[in-house]
Amino acid sequence: MLAVQVLINALVLGCLYACIAIGFSLVWGVLNVINLIHGSFIVLGAYLAWGAYQWAHVSPWYALLIAAPLFFAFGYLLQRLLLNRVISAPVLVTLTLTFGLDLILNNAMIYYFKADYRKLTLSPPTGSVSLFDVVVPVDRLIATAAALALTGLLYLLLRRSKVGRAIVAVRLDRDAAVLMGVDVKSIYAIAFGLGAALAGCAGVLMALIFPISPLTSSAYLGKAFVVCVLGGLGSVSGALAGGVLLALVEGIGSVYLGPAHATTLSFVLLIIFLVVRPQGLVGRKGFE
């Protein structure tokens, strides 16, 4: 029964990891920018959910509706006003810029919210569901469903909408997309805005499960990075596969080697993938 419980835990956690990583993967895949602000965006989204619930009694589900446009606008403007200026520079320059922006955002959060941990506790508590001896917390189930819905929405957007097809086109061949009349600057800003919106929404979902602190941003960024490498850049299904694989490795590693070694094990796996299969599990050229 322990094996089934660990498997269920990993599936649930894996979907959440995918949700953390998908926006990061989109930005990296389309803009070729390793967005180091991603973890702080997630934490900011978590604060938004916490603040809305704490001060205005707005349920986290409505907070998702607030977070998505707000973070999209924030990301869009950030890309237009700052990142766009260095987008064609070597990757180290964009890395430095996002690192600097992350320092500013993270320290601003430490300044306003302090380093204390906060927790969004729903009242009444959602409890857990159990079947035989397998127990799954309801809040995790709801967050997983929302994470899958967000991932599905992104998939549909990229496959079915004009903007989505333009994003995939820019990802596949930037120059050809320009020749076909695609406004690459706008597409970059939209892709970055989408990445930020997905990070903000992921933060809202994470607030239901994990404690909130500016200091958790590096943990989220680390997970996003590992998931992208494991799943492969440029694929929605890759993010899901990577998320579940990471959660499985952490869960099984924690049971058989002890929880202290779970993180080490995931990084060992990361190195193996980088050497043996750098394209990841489902890595493809296009974003679909």
């Binding site: 029964m1 322990l2 419980q5 660990v6 835990n9 990993a10 956690l13 430490i110 302090k114 380093a115 204390d116 941990y117 927790k119 506790t121 857990s128 159990s130 127990v135 917390p137 809040d139 995790r140 994990f210 404690p211 602190s213 200091l215 958790t216 943990a219 952490e250 869960g251 099984i252 924690s254 049971v255 002890g258 929880p259 202290a260 779970a262 993180t263």
Partner: protein
């Protein structure tokens, strides 16, 4: 009015000398205590508690006119430094305080790990240091001359706790131990392991979790599958709140659940709510104690009263330890009648005094060896003391749901 350049220069020089001597005079009237703390970072909540204790002591000492050094009163000034919960940075901060901020004496940084690391610096510069939150024997095994600590060794917490469970819950046989992979939480878990085995319990699980772990679900599922009757978890407040929430998510129940070191803090009880009920713990001090101290706070009840008046909350052992560390420095400086670091160090080493914290006497390694730490349990959202007998407030209750 005409003034010669020479007159101007000599005037300026005189003014500079006058202001310099004024600043020297004011510097002489102040005793500076360095307090490196993790003001930001994962340990920030603990740092805030320590700061509250130091500030209360400084305020009380200054209200009374300051510290009496050979008939002259000196005001207290505490110099804080944020090492951002980063142990190597606590060493740098300590060195900076001693060499650049010119502090007279030091308080140790938070926890056993950072206190041990920073103690090498204060020992190098021969600066008397009181560690207000370091209990692990590894900190004091160094046999440093200038380091003192207000927490007794870890086994003084786990041994009475084990004996209470053995006596009150004879059906409890299997123990699972989960520890944060950090100096103090791991050291106390190791003491628990020894203590449990020595008292005939079977330790069915003993593992460490990494600092900053977000998800404990796989670990907790494994513990649950082993069906231990006593679950013993160590970590700091945030770790324990997260683990307690994830235990409830997995519907984990056990006759006994012990957590160290969080339940002594009011914010743990408030945040955990109903799930804190019947969690047992142990700490080095409790506001229910009744000592009649010779320190600036006097009776324990007076310290509690002053603390409540300033912060509008009940003090916990972390806050009390910080306050008593200041009070002990004050007693030592007044006894030495000097700010000479060696004389103050000798006064601390030979100290044998009653305080609001309890009897204080340091062993040859600098660690206090005169305290009897209380064991308690959260009952009806309040910590209820179960041991020692002299301050017992209630009986042990079985069952954590």
């Amino acid at each position: 009015m005409y003034r010669s350049p020479l007159a101007c220069i000599s005037g300026s020089v005189l003014l500079a000398i006058a202001s310099l001597s004024a600043s020297i005079a004011s510097a002489e009237d102040v005793i500076r205590f360095g307090a490196p703390l993790p003001i930001t970072g994962p340990l920030a909540p603990e740092a805030v508690k320590q700061q509250m204790g130091y500030n209360l002591w400084a305020e009380e000492a200054n209200k009374a006119g300051g510290i009496n050094v050979g008939g002259k009163k000196y005001k207290v000034e505490i110099v804080y430094g944020d090492y951002q919960s980063n142990t190597p940075r606590s060493v740098q901060t300590t060195e900076q305080m001693i060499t650049q901020d010119n502090v007279n004496f030091m308080f140790g940084p938070f926890g056993s790990g950072a206190a041990k690391a920073a103690s090498t610096i204060s020992e190098k510069y021969k600066v008397p240091t009181i560690a207000a939150s370091a209990s692990s024997s590894q900190v004091y095994d160094q046999n440093y001359k200038y380091l003192f600590g207000t927490f007794t060794p870890n086994d003084t917490l786990t041994t009475p706790l084990t004996q209470i469970i053995k006596a009150k819950a004879p059906e409890v046989k299997k123990v699972a131990i989960l520890a944060r992979n950090d100096l103090f939480p791991l050291a106390i878990a190791q003491e628990m392991d020894k203590s449990a085995k020595a008292n005939g319990f079977e330790v069915v699980y003993f593992e460490k979790y990494a600092i900053n772990t977000l998800d404990h679900s796989a670990t907790l599922s494994q513990i649950k599958s082993l069906a231990p009757q006593w679950i013993f978890i160590t970590g700091y407040t945030n770790d324990l709140l997260l683990i307690r929430k994830q235990m409830a998510d997995q519907q984990m129940k056990a006759p006994v659940v012990t957590m160290i070191a969080g339940p002594a803090y009011q914010d743990f009880i408030e945040t955990a709510g109903q799930s804190a009920e019947n969690i047992s713990s142990a700490s080095w001090w409790h506001p229910a104690e009744q000592y009649d101290g010779k320190d600036i706070f006097g009776k324990t009840s007076n310290f509690v009263k002053l603390f409540k008046a300033k912060y509008n909350s009940e003090p916990d052992y972390g806050q009390a330890s910080a306050a008593v560390s200041g009070a002990l420095f004050q007693l030592a400086i007044e006894k030495a009648g000097s700010l000479d670091r060696d004389k103050v160090r000798d006064a601390l080493a030979s100290m044998d005094v009653m305080t609001f914290w309890g009897p204080v006497k340091f062993g040859a390694n600098g660690q206090i060896n005169s305290l009897e730490p209380p064991v308690f349990q959260i009952q009806n959202a309040k910590p209820v003391v179960l041991y020692p007998e002299a301050i017992k407030q209630g009986e042990f209750k079985l069952g954590v749901n």
